[in-house]
């Protein structure tokens, strides 16, 4: 198993003349888990996007190592699975097409097409996998996001509001994934839910600044 670490040093993010958060630091070495908590608007989604390499920081940095060697985020992206309400798929393609097309862009070999069907079944989308994503409910879209995030067996899983739109079955599914990921890689959770926050070992709390 690969030893992965994510280290954040004094991360700060400003947007639209406002400082959203600052002085955020943590260090994670696999296997470990972190939950990001905070009120609405504290920047939980922003921090999870920063960790997943989608947004840059205003100050500070987030660095990644693989087996003790520093890796650039562009390369490290391949080891990250990301689920968020901000993620959207292509409405005109079916669930299976979305998975296949996107994994082809990620340049995974064609063998993974059977794996795509498998993961869609696992996520509970077997019956709808040939339907355009535009016809999906938000809960099913969430399941598709999980399928896509897990397809390449990511060493790091970043989940922003993990159980949003999920039904009871879905929540069980998420708990199962969370348990798995905590054992074999790094799990990062961003949530408002106190119970979900307790799923992880470490916590980083984003507080609102008082003037």
């Amino acid at each position: 198993m690969n030893r992965i670490s994510i280290t954040a040093v004094d991360i700060a993010k400003s947007f639209n003349y406002r400082t959203i958060f600052r002085d955020i630091s943590f260090s994670l070495l696999s296997p470990s888990s972190l939950t990001i908590t905070g009120k609405n608007g504290a920047g939980k989604s922003t921090l999870s996007k920063i960790i997943a390499g989608l947004i840059s920081t205003t100050k500070g940095s987030c660095s990644y190592t693989l087996n003790k060697k520093n890796v650039d985020i562009e390369v490290f992206k391949r080891y990250i699975g990301f689920v968020s309400t901000y993620l959207n798929f292509y409405d005109e393609f079916t669930a299976l097409e979305n998975i296949n097309i996107l994994s082809r862009i990620r340049t995974m070999s064609r063998q993974n097409e059977s794996r795509a069907e498998e993961i869609l079944n696992l996520a509970g989308l077997r019956q709808r996998r040939d339907d355009p994503v535009g016809t999906f409910s938000s809960g099913m879209k969430q399941r598709l996001k999980y399928a896509f995030a897990l397809l390449h067996n990511p060493a790091v899983l970043v989940l922003d509001e993990p159980t949003s739109s999920m039904d009871d079955e879905g929540i069980e599914f998420v708990r199962h994934i969370v348990r798995q990921q905590k054992k074999q890689g790094i799990l990062i959770l961003a949530t408002n839910n106190r119970k979900e926050a307790g799923w992880c070992d470490k916590e980083v709390h984003l507080g609102m600044k008082k003037e």
Binding site: S14, F15, N16, Y17, R18, T19, S56, T58
Partner: protein
Amino acid sequence: MNSLKVLSIILITFTIFAGITVPMVPQPQSIFEFPDIPGLGETARIIFFHVPAAWVSVLGFLISLYFGFKYLRTKEYNYDIKSVSAAGLGMLFCVLAMVTGSLWAKFAWGSFWNWDPRETSIFILLLIYGAYFALRSALGSDEIRARLSAVYAILAGLTAPFFIFIMPRVIGGLHPGAEGDSSGSIPIAQLQMPLNMYVVFFTGLVGFTLLFIWLLNVRIRAVSVEYQLLIKDQ
């Protein structure tokens, strides 16, 4: 900064005075007389104002490019402030160059605007920077606006020397210095101006440049203060 302002005022005053009052005669006898360039006559006086305005405008655009580049490297918002201020001043001097140029065109060629390659290229340059400001006003968040306009400032800054220096020389036209104008390309480049005209010309160039630096400084400070106020409000 104060000495710079005073020097700038002195130099420009000298240029205006000398540029307009020194008489033009066919055979200059003393340093207080300019030669009468055939075909241009009195209109040649515009060279003391029109050309420095154009050069300073390119200077502004290149400075805007530089600060845009620095912003992309460091993500410090101050560089974005400097970049937009320089672009604004570059545009101001570009308009001045265009206006002085078309005034001259009225007297030299009979009409204010002819779509001569040089006129067309400065017009396109103005459109490029107009687009720069349109882009800025259409982008909401400060970070995105700074980043995207820095990229555009670099693109626009690269085209500015092309439009002002290269294109009009390569394509034939009416403007002095265009291809096919055998009476000589820019008198400055070919050292066809006598020494006294050179002196006035370079004084004007330096004076305009100092004026530009002064205006840039004031503009940057003003925008910085606005920005500080905006952040404080949060």
